[in-house]
């Protein structure tokens, strides 16, 4: 039960074995993806044909490595572009929301809070189709009225960014609110008392205090944006982010290039995760 209450050794060892099995279950698919990135074969499956770097640096079809696959490289940049925008928007709105919900009392606050939570329980596909349909209607209306073209309201990166932002902003709000909640208001008052202006106090004291949460929310937003599929699929235009490109490839049958991309993604995410941990560890 807890370490201070003795349990039979059999129970303890069974429990540990279970936990171990669980972590193997967690690790297995990823390990397999990584390992087969180096299989010297056209297929990411047994038998093992020997080690190769071809799937990273190969220059000839069919063994064209990731680094030489223009569409994949392009979609990585697309994903990064989307992720940065989504992170910036989500964190900005998340921060203002946090101040609003933690610091202010107003009518319908509770209702607005529930509304703010809703994107968590709306399936991604529905967010996707609803934004698609709504922007389509808006674009048609505007175009009929003005005779101009409103391309950014048609599927494409702006809509992808808005679609992902529509639910990632909720996560950012929760993460930043949680920290702001812990903020001791008297720190701000102390700053006022020591001669700071109200905005100056927020800037000098509150924002630095929120920094770990802001960094954390940024990382979460970037990771979620990179991996989002359901909402993005509905809103994507001619520029496809990485997951969409990979999905299109996967439908065509997989090659170890996909494993290689995945491995790179894992390394990047792990690095990002570590950075955010360090940032958070430093000031908590």
């Amino acid at each position: 039960m807890i370490p201070t209450i003795r349990q039979s050794p059999l129970f303890r060892w069974t429990y540990r074995a279970y936990v171990l099995a669980f972590f193997i279950y967690l690790a297995l698919p990823l390990a397999v993806v990584c390992v087969f990135a180096f299989n010297d074969s056209l297929f990411p499956s047994l038998p093992w044909q020997g080690f190769t770097w071809d799937w990273f640096i190969g220059t000839e079809r069919p063994r064209l490595g990731v680094f030489n696959e223009r569409p994949i490289i392009r979609s990585i940049w697309t994903s990064a572009f989307v992720a940065v925008w989504v992170a910036v928007l989500s964190v900005a709105v998340g921060t203002t929301n946090a101040f609003l919900f933690v610091r202010h009392q107003f009518r319908f606050k509770n209702g607005l809070y529930v509304l703010m939570l809703l994107p968590l329980v709306i399936p991604g596909i529905i967010l996707g189709i609803s934004i698609l349909v709504a922007s389509n209607t808006l674009a048609n209306t505007l175009e009929d009225a003005t005779g101009m073209w409103f391309d950014s309201l048609r599927p494409g990166l702006p809509l992808v960014i808005l679609g992902q932002f529509s639910f990632i902003a909720t996560f950012a709000t929760l993460v930043i609110s949680a920290r702001l909640e812990k903020f001791d208001r008297s720190l701000e008052e102390a700053a006022l008392n020591l001669g700071a202006t109200p905005l100056g106090a927020v800037w000098a004291i509150t924002i630095p205090f929120l920094f770990p949460a802001i960094a954390g929310a940024t990382v979460v937003a970037i990771l979620m944006s990179f991996e989002n599929f359901n909402t993005t699929l509905m809103l994507v235009g001619s520029d496809a982010p990485l997951t969409i490109t990979m999905f299109d490839r996967l439908k065509e049958g997989s090659t170890p290039v996909l494993n290689a991309v995945s491995l790179l993604l894992m390394v990047a995410s792990a690095a990002l995760g570590l950075v955010s941990l360090l940032l958070q560890g430093r000031k908590d």
């Binding site: 008052e189 700053a191 001669g195």
Partner: protein
């Protein structure tokens, strides 16, 4: 001439939260260099009052002057007062020097000047060289001193302190009481100090205001409050007391005879206002005012006498007490255990006699209480 200007004047200051009156028409003045405490139970409005002085709350009515200048339209960051917060509110993202320098930076003081002044004030609070340390590396007492230094470096006219010792543990609190008084003496700044702990207020203050339900019940020195309380509330709140309820049976000037519902007859003194026969009164007697004796004639001369058995001996070194169950009424009397060896062997169920003076038996009109 300068002597005549008070550091702080509150004039009929009030604060309402919707219908609730947190502070009502409080007036007081604090002359320069005074250690002024506001003592009162939780929720009586102390913090509200302090926050009005600091500028975080706007008074509903009344005026507030610092060095004779009205502060009503001055925002908190422009008032010549500094505040030490209950949990100190040291900025965790800055080191000690940056914390102390914060206010100076806001005033645009030059960098070199700031570090000079910071070091000087650190020296004065007994923490020379602590500037580069992190706030979390300090002990409770050191944090306290940094919080005070952070205010004092700005040379405020008035330093406000909101229960700054509340978060410290017992031993450290005892120690800091003395140290705080010492620091005030050294800086010679006016302190306005809030607490609900009477021993803090008694030990440190030049003047104490006892606050209850938003009003000041009495303002005076520690001795005034302890020996000459003006209201039943002050008598009960400041120091320990035996408390009896009763009715006046005889009145002769301030000399009264009071009978409790249990039938116990007391000789007492009207402490405030005049009391007449039939008035309901509350009577207060300090445990240390009660004399204890093994034999009845040991207390024979006293105007109030009683005998009973020991209910329990609460040994606590120099502050030991005996609870005595009165034989006649069954009421309990709390008596300070004299430090003479005579009562060392006193134990439960021993019979003892007690007696006390009429002058130490303070009577207040009972109605005054219910507000």
């Amino acid at each position: 001439m300068a002597e005549a200007v008070n550091d702080l004047d509150c004039r009929d200051i009030s604060k309402n939260f919707a219908a609730f009156k947190a502070v009502r028409d409080v007036s007081f003045s604090v002359p320069p260099g005074t250690f002024f405490s506001i003592l009162g139970p939780s929720g009586c409005g102390k913090t509200t009052l302090l926050r009005m002085i600091a500028g975080f709350l706007e008074p509903t009515s009344g005026d507030l002057l610092i060095k004779g200048r009205s502060m009503l339209d001055v925002p908190p960051n422009k008032r010549p007062v500094s505040m030490v917060f209950q949990h100190l509110a040291l900025f965790p993202m800055m080191n000690v020097a940056a914390n102390i320098g914060f206010g100076l930076r806001r005033r645009g003081v030059a960098k070199a000047e700031i570090s000079k002044r910071v070091e000087a004030v650190l020296e004065r609070v007994g923490l020379p060289g602590a500037g580069p340390r992190g706030v979390d590396e300090l002990s409770g007492g050191q944090k306290q001193r940094v919080a005070i230094a952070r205010c004092m470096v700005l040379e405020p006219d008035v330093l406000l302190l909101d229960e700054p010792l509340g978060a410290l543990d017992l031993k450290l609190r005892e120690h800091m009481k003395i140290e705080l008084k010492q620091l005030q003496w050294e800086f010679n700044t006016t302190f306005v100090y809030i607490t609900h702990d009477q021993s803090e207020a008694l030990v440190m203050s030049d003047q104490i205001a006892v606050m209850n339900h938003g009003v000041f019940e009495q303002v005076g020195t520690a001795r005034d409050l302890y020996y000459n309380p003006e209201t039943a509330f002050v008598a009960g709140f400041v120091g320990e007391s035996n408390r009896f309820a009763g009715k006046v049976e005889e009145a002769n000037g301030t000399a009264l005879k009071v009978r409790t519902p249990g039938g116990f007859a007391l000789s007492g003194t009207a402490a405030a206002g005049s009391l007449g026969v039939g008035d309901a009164v509350e009577v207060f007697v300090r445990p240390e005012a009660v004399r204890l004796s093994h034999a009845a004639d040991g207390v024979a001369g006293q105007p109030n006498v009683s005998s009973g058995v020991v209910d329990s001996v609460l040994f606590n070194g120099a502050n030991s007490r005996v609870l005595i169950r009165d034989a006649a009424t069954g009421g309990e009397i709390d008596v300070a255990l004299p430090q003479t060896g005579e009562f060392h062997s006193l134990k439960r169920d021993d019979t003892v006699h007690v007696g006390w003076d009429a002058g130490q038996t303070l009577c207040f009109a009972a109605a005054e209480q219910g507000r």
